[in-house]
Symmetry: C2
Subunit: 316 residues, 2 copies
């Protein structure tokens, strides 16, 4: 992954990050992901990525999506002024892990979903075996992609980010959260639910902000690091709550019947209101510490707040 | 993964590596894998690896196996005198990737095998969803485990090894080889088969030797690196040929019916004889260059030669 591309000399946009950054992300992220994939697929000794596998991976990874995780990573990388291509690498790597979990989640042995983002899910198009392999391959592609940051940051910072990514993708992160889901029941406590959320959604959301922090060489024990890490956690939690409320509203929802349903959770606590208040505080804290530089991140926080407010209104 | 253990101060065995190394591996490898897993599962913020997931991973990873890949990694690490715990880390990481591919391979949507190593396969015990997640989790555990070498080798060497591991586990490696398998047909050429083998088995075999080489900071372009890399390729190829011949002999074998069957391949070429000759030459080359120090590796090469000879006799 040493070939140079236009991304190695790309510059951050000038001007107010709230206005200029979203456009910059739109213009670069998809192209960067395409290029990173191509690099991951490139010929190496005898083997090139077989075309059927590449097509299956591209189908899911390049499907229209909100890209909230890479947007977060890039906004955070911008805040700490790491090299733009390193921020893109962190964002793309996380999106690959997210995409891998979606492909595997949709498989018949998991949630058995025939549709994803309005299109047939991966296994409905390429078959279960190829969907399984596409997900598997994306885990390796993610590490490969994060390593595009090599040279732009100290090796020790990159190693820390790789460790963080493997934590987020593994048994203590998103896979752990998924494994925990079937263990929950009507008698589960709020703390059990929070643990499941922390893995299932929280780990990748947190990683979206903490990877760029790692790449910038900023420790979580510093004030800047702690405020960013707290925002990461609050945002991930709020996003999961909003997302589950949205799922529960869908006409053919299976969510409301699950014991770990957010509706059950809301009926017993005021957690959604608290979640919203905590995220608001965390956004304020960001703005106070970083000023206008934080507006890229704060705006994404605002979107999640809005989504949460809308859902709470509809549900209550 | 910074906690110290007895492995951080472990020493290589003294004496003739052909005699002392196998015993040293037996005594340390399983315990190291257990410890590395525990580290990968350890509490991190809210989430600990859920017990059902941990049990499913342990069931497959600690099942009795030949451990040929970690044995190779450790023998190679010994040859180049990297820190013993770094060699164990490389070996355990590769075994985790190997184990992940076995769990996923056995799933109904892939080979649909109910047994593995004489025991019910993972999904027969834990269900398909948990088997899927156990495999997924092992990819992340592998990177985590390789990073146990941090501090014992330069950061740049560790980064190179991580890149190699992600290559071997990804679309250009074992996953690419698996995706290629269904594309083969009766009209496939020898070169197509070799490409499939290079990914499916070759990538992890090569990584078993090249990861320790990376950790030792030795480039493939040097004489030492080139001889080791050639041995890695020949060994991986020979192992796959021997393994497929063995599968084809099994009374209930489905192998012989596959278009990519090694039997079909052997009927049209003298490839098995050539494979054997090439591996022999490569072992000689190792011995000439490294002398007695190479006997750990050469002995494993000898085992594969013997297995190949036995199978060729039975088949012809």
């Amino acid at each position: 992954m040493n070939s140079h591309s236009r991304f190695h000399s790309i510059a951050w946009p000038a001007g107010n990050p709230a206005e200029t950054l979203p456009l910059w992300v739109d213009q670069n992220l998809e192209a960067f992901i395409e290029w990173a994939l191509a690099e991951s697929f490139a010929q190496n000794e005898a083997l090139k990525c077989p075309p059927n596998l590449g097509e299956s991976i591209r189908y899911s990874l390049l499907a229209p999506g909100k890209r909230i995780r890479p947007r977060l990573a890039i906004a955070c990388g911008h805040l700490f002024q790491i090299a733009p291509h390193a921020a893109l690498a962190a964002g793309a790597a996380i999106e690959m892990i997210h995409c891998f979990t979606l492909i595997h989640d949709d498989l018949p042995c998991m949630d058995n979903d025939d549709f994803r983002r309005g299109r047939p899910s991966n296994h409905k198009v390429y078959g279960e075996a190829m969907a399984l392999l596409a997900g598997d391959a994306l885990v390796a592609c993610a590490t490969d992609t994060l390593m595009i940051a090599e040279g732009a940051v100290p090796d020790s910072a990159l190693l820390r980010a790789i460790r963080r990514l493997s934590w987020a993708a593994g048994p203590r992160g998103v896979i752990g959260g998924q494994a925990m889901e079937p263990l929950l029941s009507k008698t589960s406590t709020l703390s059990d639910l929070e643990k499941m959320f922390a893995g299932k959604t929280g780990a990748l959301f947190a990683a979206s902000l903490l990877l760029p922090l790692d790449l910038a060489g900023i420790d979580e024990s510093t004030r800047e690091g702690a405020v960013t890490a707290r925002f990461a956690r609050e945002l991930g939690y709020a996003f999961q709550v909003a997302d589950d409320l949205e799922d529960a509203e869908a006409p053919d929802s299976k969510e409301a019947e699950k014991p770990q349903s957010i509706l059950y959770f809301l009926s017993s606590t005021e957690a959604a209101t608290q979640t919203s208040a905590r995220l608001s505080r965390s956004i304020d804290e960001l703005r106070t510490l970083f000023g206008a530089r934080a507006s890229g991140l704060a705006d994404i926080g605002g979107e999640v707040l809005k989504k949460l407010a809308l859902r709470m209104k509809k549900t209550t």
